[in-house]
Amino acid sequence: MCTRQLVERSLAGDRSAFEELIAPLVEPGYRLACGMLLDRDEAEDAVQEAALKAWLKLGSFRAGSDPRPWFLTVVANHCRDLRRGRWWSVLRGVDLERGAAPLEDLAGGLDLRHALTRLPVRERALLVLHYYLDLPLDEVARVLGITPAAAKSRLYRVLRRLRGDLEVCEVPT
């Protein structure tokens, strides 16, 4: 059954058609959520919640288009909402919300993995979409709700920032 038929049957209330529609999208969605949330259980929950939202918003899906970026958009938006929720909120007296953390104070022991986990969630999403899921930048832009030019410049900024921090670490002693 083609995507168009699966969407039409899903819109008519056919859950099995919807399951077939999202089955190939679940793993990319889960990987994106892992990259954004850095938590396996949270990522699985996020994909399930995103599936529910996708089901309810299926009417907004444009017939004939690729469902993958559409579903990834739902996942990315849900993950961003989660990051604004209570379990990612600021602990009293200490600014603990992972976001725009300055990387400078990690200099001296920083490796690329540390730098990645400390990136703002939108920048990490961009890297996962482009480097892990191999989406071209125009699709990355669609998923993140920005222009292709903005996606390109954001990617450039992130790489430059990572490169700068790594150079600090890689100075021979």
Binding site: L38, Q48, E49, D95
Partner: protein
């Protein structure tokens, strides 16, 4: 540089493991009925109610429903309350070394927990254990202690605050203290379980 980033992103993402089998089926199983395209206006309200219900069902789909907990109690009560609120599939790490006289402010649900212990004799001394990621902006890194086997764990400080962030079984944790020394911090950290 790009190839190195690509490799690290892949290792970061795949480090969480593959999704558990049947994730798509579990997601589809909890879907509400779809209202017809020409449904009357009241159907939208009903659909919204169904969506909320379905969300709750999805949230607890991995096991029996858990009772959220919130309030101030002693450390032993806090441990019991958090364990009752958080599904058994998620590790609950709380310090065994807390003095029984300290009070514990608990917020816990199926999605995670936060317990803030305070010293009744000195309000500047506190210990917080919570799930979720942390921003180390402004903190100075003291060490990478490989806490509980997590090579990416970080021990850092700012003013009178000490913080340890790590991941365990795919869950992000943070231990934060104020007004405690290094030795006291690690006594508490090493009693987490």
């Amino acid at each position: 540089m790009s190839e190195r980033v690509r490799r690290e992103v892949r290792e970061l993402v795949e480090g969480f493991g593959a999704p558990r089998p049947g994730l798509a089926a579990r997601a589809a199983a909890g879907l509400p009925d779809r209202p017809g395209r020409t449904a009357p206006r009241w159907a939208a309200v009903a659909a919204a109610a169904l969506a909320v219900t379905a969300g709750l069902v999805l949230w607890t789909a991995r096991g029996v429903p858990h009772q959220p907990a919130e309030g101030t109690m002693d450390p032993a009560q806090a441990r019991a309350a958090v364990r009752a609120a958080v599904p058994a599939s998620r590790p609950v790490l709380l310090p065994a070394a807390m003095a029984p006289t300290w009070s514990a402010e608990v917020t816990a649900s199926a999605g995670g927990f936060r317990v803030r212990y305070t010293d009744p004799n000195d309000a500047t001394r506190s210990v917080t254990v919570a799930t979720g990621a942390a921003d180390l902006g402004g903190f100075a890194t003291l060490s990478y202690p490989a806490f509980h086997g997590d090579r990416a764990s970080i021990y850092a400080t700012k003013d009178q605050t000490l913080i340890l962030v790590w991941q365990q079984a795919g869950v992000s944790y943070q231990l934060v203290t104020t007004g405690l020394g290094d030795a006291e911090f690690w006594q508490i950290a090493n009693s987490l379980g």
